[in-house]
Symmetry: C2
Subunit: 151 residues, 2 copies
DNA sequence: GCATTTTAGTTACAATTGAAACCACCCGCA
DNA sequence: TGCGGGTGGTTTCAATTGTAACTAAAATGC
């Protein structure tokens, strides 16, 4: 009498990760959406450009783990708002070269502390040891999942 | 000379969680989408109904952490496919009472092992100790985030 | 050097989603 | 009993998103 398969959502890792991650992202997104009218995609693009300037849209896509269409649209919106600037790569005219504008940097410099602060408040609930374990485990899982995807 | 604020996406917890979680969910979703033509929302709804039958749409929404509009639509599609059945609560005519149909159970019983298997393969990369830490840490973070959201 | 394939980025169209309005019903209270 | 406010669920409309097709420029291969 095996009955039915049993899946307990509350203890199912993919589900737990997804709920936690969505709640977290949304909470942070609410802040920069309300204050600076930025979508998650737009902010992600700005975040990588603040970290590494003069890269192509493709590289932004790679680093944000978003697809190129999403990036293309985010770039278009950010250009219209003058938060980023675009030029063309000399060695490859297909590639764009993107960077934050002065206005973009102003917003970046305001959003980053807010984002870090939220993370900090969250991590404050963990002790140093737990934080280390978490970092290491997420790393392992990420690499493991990469292998899965390639199967 | 403070220069600019610095946010390293690769080590920013919300970002890492989001990328890991999305990749993971999509990998699993691909399976049941291709084989059974189920969206993530639909499968989530089925998953809670497999775990706990005869609950209202509102309760499904709560347990899946999705909003009521999404659930309403998922329920509509699942009804059309005859994967769930719906009746009305006797004590409150607004509430629906949902449960998997025989056909729904058939699919549920096929998807659950696939989902569990993926999770298992992933967790196989962690040792018992790491798995315990992870479970505990996710729990703490979830509770912490709940507090944040209520602020 | 030219044809073929690949890559960066955009566009068009359909499908999905979210916010707000909405309906039907329940509850508290006078 | 009947009115005001709240809740479960659906619908509508606009905005966002995903897929596929497309353009332009490079890279590859002969």
């Amino acid at each position: 009498m095996p009955g039915h398969a049993l899946l307990e959502l509350e203890s199912f890792l993919p589900y737990r990760l997804s709920v936690l991650s969505n709640t977290l992202s949304q909470a942070i997104a609410r802040v920069y959406d309300k204050r600076f009218d930025l979508s998650v995609t737009e902010w992600r693009a700005m975040a990588v450009l603040g970290y590494r300037a003069d890269i192509s849209a493709r590289e932004v896509a790679e680093r944000t783990a978003m697809d190129k269409v999403a990036i293309s649209r985010a770039v278009a919106r950010l250009l219209k708002k003058d938060l980023i600037a675009r030029s063309t790569a000399r060695h490859d005219k297909r590639q764009s070269v993107l960077r934050l504008s002065a206005e973009g940097w102003k917003i970046y410099d305001q959003v980053v502390p807010l984002a870090l602060d939220h993370e900090k408040r969250l991590l404050a609930h963990l002790d140093a040891q737990e934080r280390e374990w978490l970092a290491r485990i997420l790393d392992t899982l990420w690499k493991a999942e990469q292998l899965e995807v390639k199967r």
